[in-house]
Symmetry: C2
Subunit: 221 residues, 2 copies
Amino acid sequence: MSDLSLTQAMSTLRAVRRLRPDPIPEEVLERVLQAAAWAPTGGNAQPWRIVLVRDADAKARLGTLYAAQWTEFAKGYEARFEALPEEDVARERRTLDAGNYLAEHLHEAPVIAVFCFNPKMMAITDIKQPRVSVVGGGSVYPAVQNLLLAARAEGLGCVLTTLLCQVEPEVREILAIPEPWGTAAAIPLGYPIGTGHGPIRRRAVGSLVFEDTFGNKRGSP
Amino acid sequence: MSDLSLTQAMSTLRAVRRLRPDPIPEEVLERVLQAAAWAPTGGNAQPWRIVLVRDADAKARLGTLYAAQWTEFAKGYEARFEALPEEDVARERRTLDAGNYLAEHLHEAPVIAVFCFNPKMMAITDIKQPRVSVVGGGSVYPAVQNLLLAARAEGLGCVLTTLLCQVEPEVREILAIPEPWGTAAAIPLGYPIGTGHGPIRRRAVGSLVFEDTFGNKRGSP
């Protein structure tokens, strides 16, 4: 793996949606997968698996499913533009364009990594709360993030997508995923067409972190 | 931040449960929080917040809640030992001892970082699937993992815990967390008492990654 520092990797990990079809060398892919395997999971159960999709027919079928979901999602995304300041609209439209590109070309990515998880291997501590559960994701998405960071260090474009979870039964059939495994993410991987990773836009830490009680802003460090 | 490489950080990030009460310098904490802020989230919505708990009374109350949950959890954990080979029992008992230590001393950690999330800021694409939802976690746990990795790079012990989610109403009251925010993780942070981070034990990549269909082992790279 390239000697990228942790800080460099985290601060330049972008959603890269325009990917070249060129193959990924096996040793590069192996390092990216090893990174996922290192991630912590509840009770060290590692209740996730990756199906690495490289078969052209399977990628085409996933691509068709994804495009249909994206078309619906994009309508809602674009509808929000009306409420935005003009300078934000230009930026959001670039994101939408990149999303449109991905939806049309998902099958061209050399690899689509589909993360599966087994809820029976998890202690899902928020299952009884009167709101949607997220804790199962605590034993999957750290591995996803490790994979993304390692891909970034290798110069591979990547983006965390979850739209295919809306059509999980169809994905299950294409990839022969047995019960009780579910799907948590589909990550296209490939070398970028454009500049790839680089600067990211995020909220300031001060607006995300509170002191002792929710909403209580911290003083300057 | 230390110049730890991404690979070094990921491959030595352990669950460190024995923490010294010594304070964490503000500039160190700021770098760890910045790492969380860099993480990707769906639609870049960043639908999470951290409540940094340093108040002694609040930490004590969280510690009491945590210890009660841990006592119940540990019973089930220990019951599994009977089915394990002897060499595994010794290792699992060390983990249990470390867990017992954390349960008794959680309030001594200089900081407990409680991750909150807002489901209304999320597109939870698996909400209609006939299984527990995890996708909301896709916009929270990448930030958690970034925070853990940055803590490791700073030499700070840390561990991802979710037991307090079982008593979310009580946690909500202690930290004044308003609806519709929920809690996703509580992460004690502090300098390690012992050796801290180091080698980790994980399944081989070959047993976690399949090719094209679930269960289809990959050839050697």
